[in-house]
Amino acid sequence: MSYSVLDTKKIINVVKYRWLWILISVIFLMPGIIAMLWSVKTYPTHTPLLVGIDFTGGTIIKYSVNTEVSTNDIGKIRLDLSKNNVDNPVIQVLRPVTTEADSNIKNIISVKTKFSENGQNETIDAVSEVITADYPEAQLVEVSSVGPVLGKQLFINSLIAITLALLAIVIYLTVRFHFEFALVACIALFHDVLCVVGIFSILGLLCGVTIDSLFITAVLTVLGYSVNNTIVVFDRVRENLKFYSKKATYDEIVNASVNQTLARSINTSLTTLLVLCSLYFLGGVTTKDFVLVLIIGVVAGTYSSIFLANALIVVWNKFEQAKKAKTAQ
């Protein structure tokens, strides 16, 4: 009996349970999609996600203090503010360049935050309470509203750029692979991004998690990771199709390819998750949401590149064959 590369250990059967894998994806995506639709309907901003100060603008409240504010102090202020219901503040310490009349001022603490629903005064009181607890001599210097960093136009431009980038990928993959691979890679990518956005939409509704400019970066990263992942598995399918298309069926080849790349898929995801989990559990508060997006994206990306993408490829192939059989009749 002659051995073949296709005789590798089969741990996963993507072909047999293909509808199950697709169904799992759909079930996972549904709550997110519902949350997004609900958000568009109910939020005053009519956005699928709860947007933060980068998009909406907010208030800058400044206090002058006559002591040095250290890095640890900022951490304490941040913690106290979140206890006092001031979420996701941007805390910066200013050092006046020009020596002003009052030379006692060593530092200025600048807190940028969104107004609470109950109005401006409540927010200012909440912040002041925290600051004066730590710095009894702190003086409220200035309260002013600030506009958004990210305008609507900027956001739309980014979306256009991403759409064009995806189109380019479809063209590239069609040339290097086949159109169906290009299409499925894009569906897998869309799946991963939708998964992330959906979960954040739910988090927005349930826990008031807002998205900021970092969210866009994180989604881009998920996008890059997802394309990379799917192509590696498809590459194996492509290679095996070249060598074994006469000896084995399409289904067998796809199944074998998935199992051959399984060790790589798991190890790559594992190494990425090692770094991300370390950043999530040990890293700073301000980048936590950013890292969470990446973690969700990596998990979704691993799932879609192993299960969803290959299940879809097999479904597509079966559909094509059925069509061929029909025309042959």
């Binding site: 800058i60 951490g75 941040r78 980038a165 970066t217 990263t221 890059g224 990379n228 590459d235 989990c277």
Partner: protein
Amino acid sequence: MKNKIIMFWAIVILTIISLVIIKVKPIPLGLDLVGGSRIVLEAQTTDTIAKITQDMMDGLKTAIESRVNAMGVSETMVQQMGEKRLLIEIPNISDPKLAREFLGETAELEFKKPILDDNSNVIGWEASGLSGEDLNKAQVGTDAAGKWLITLEFNGKGAQKFAKLTREFKGFPIAIYFNGESISEPVVQQEINGGNAQITGEFTHDAAKKIVDLLNAGALPVPAQIIEENTVGPTLGADSLQKSKTAGLIGIAAVMLFMLVWYRLPGLIANIALVIYSLIVFAIFKTVPVTLTLAGIAGFILSIGMAVDANILIFERTKEELKSGRTLFTAINSGFDRAFTSIFDSNMSTVIICVILYFLGSNIVKGFALTLAIGVLVSMFSAISVTKNFMHLMFGTGQLKYPWLFGLKESDINEAYQASETKRENAKFGVLD
């Protein structure tokens, strides 16, 4: 073997050069990571501008943004604050004075025509209707004698106005005013139709450059004054960043440990390759230079992930080849060649995405795309040359004597199964034929 040793020393030299660059050049960091200057600009009412409208503020914001870009500082934040103020945060300003001059100064360019008395003597200047608004672009140039001058290129309407002006005042001087000051009063020799003009004068290069930058950035729609200037800490918070830095290092250490335990000796080689890879990428960041923000670092981290992935792909493939009973040398070679098709296609797709995002995206997106593209291109180099070179030098040729060095069992090698031949040249660039 000789080539391999030359390659090895080339890698060593490249690493040393990278180390020197990293040591010598500072890396510009963005507002989110180190902070910078915070400037508050207030629009001023004048005799002609009684009230500051929202339209004016939008115009002012656009003008300031393009001015900051002209200064060569990326990753700047401009926000409207209250009704007539702009909050500008600029990272890494080496000379705050420069920023101050640049942001506050208006840039009014005006061509004035002479008022002539009966004897054709110039007795004064009056507006000609040709101004900076008719300008397409301005550039610094030199004349035949090597003196600095400013070349102006008018748009269609401006070219018509300029032609009319030069026709009308042939033989007379016209005056070019910048910010209300006459900087040049050339005599018109002939009618100029092409829409190009030059301003000559006793310029130093810096002075000419400043005028050109201001002209290209456009005039401020309203006069604005700097009312506050501070240095400012990172927007992501110094406290958070410190923790994230440590966490990131712990994460990377965990990855290296994983590679070592799972892939043994190749894992060690991959770790060394990763360190060299990071050094080269950082050196490139510093040379370009790239202003690093968190978005940029995200791109960099993703590219590290892809570099690790490339190594994992190669090792898994080499293991498969070893299991199929090949000698070390051929197993390593065909492992690389087979893995290369997937590395090439996945990395190329990433680079395509980056190129499009870089040219069309906004600032944050740009930073991400740039670092990711550089990272991915270098990672292809590091996986192909560094890892492969070290593998060959370390393992040499012949049979694999100690399978555990690859994390394989003795039985894996002995139960080698028949695999199809992989021809190197066929697997070189993608599709296998």
